[in-house]
Symmetry: C2
Subunit: 133 residues, 2 copies
């Protein structure tokens, strides 16, 4: 599965952060977005690590976007949240392991497919997921 629950949760959380504008506690966010709190924690940690959002610790802490919603493409959010966006193991986690790689006739096809998917997902931003106005 190229896009899993984890990535879709990430989009919901990021979009909600964009709508709120200010720093938000994850407890509120997760409840509002119907994302299991503990799972949400693990997701936002990925997003922080990848530099997509900012965190403030301690009381009154929370998370916030570092850019405007229109400046995040779906491709980069999903890549930050997912283990791999590759369409196949051949271009994903098991990339280096395949002994056939040198002569494999389909490998170039998978690479081109990944590029096509990335291009497609780069054509949308968080703004496209927010209700108009």
């Amino acid at each position: 599965m190229i896009i899993s629950t984890r990535g879709r949760y990430a989009l919901r959380i990021m979009t909600a952060l964009g709508q709120r504008g200010k720093s938000s506690s994850l407890r509120e966010l997760a409840a509002e977005q119907d994302v299991p709190y503990k799972y949400a924690e693990s997701i936002v940690r990925s997003l922080v690590k990848e530099g997509l959002i900012e965190s403030a610790r301690g009381k009154n802490g929370g998370y916030s976007l570092t850019r405007r919603p229109g400046e995040y493409t779906l491709a980069e959010v999903l890549k930050a949240a997912e283990t791999s966006l590759a369409a196949t193991d051949c271009t994903g986690r098991k990339e280096a392991e395949c002994p056939r790689a040198a002569t494999c006739p389909t490998l170039p096809v998978w690479r081109a497919l990944d590029e096509t998917v990335t291009q497609f997902l780069s054509g949308y931003t968080l703004l496209d997921l927010m209700p108009k106005q």
Copy 2:
């Protein structure tokens, strides 16, 4: 994972059938293509059921293509072999189950992505996977 081992094995088997031209026993084919025999059995049964290949039972039986290699797109072979080619559960097996579907802002994006992937994979045929000459 949008394209799994099962689908890639299917492409190898179909391509090999194309190169042989005539009816081939799966024992030979699987050995030649390094596909586990019993797993290959399950794959070709899908391909037969979807009408992509023909089977002959009994001694001297085997499998053969029903069209020329250039007339099979990767999209249709993969769709026949895989459980689902959908990029996400939202447009795949759990499609009907999502209560958010009616208002989900990302659902149209996933549908368009699936269409993009299908278009891409329809741009190649088995012939493209066969060595030149």
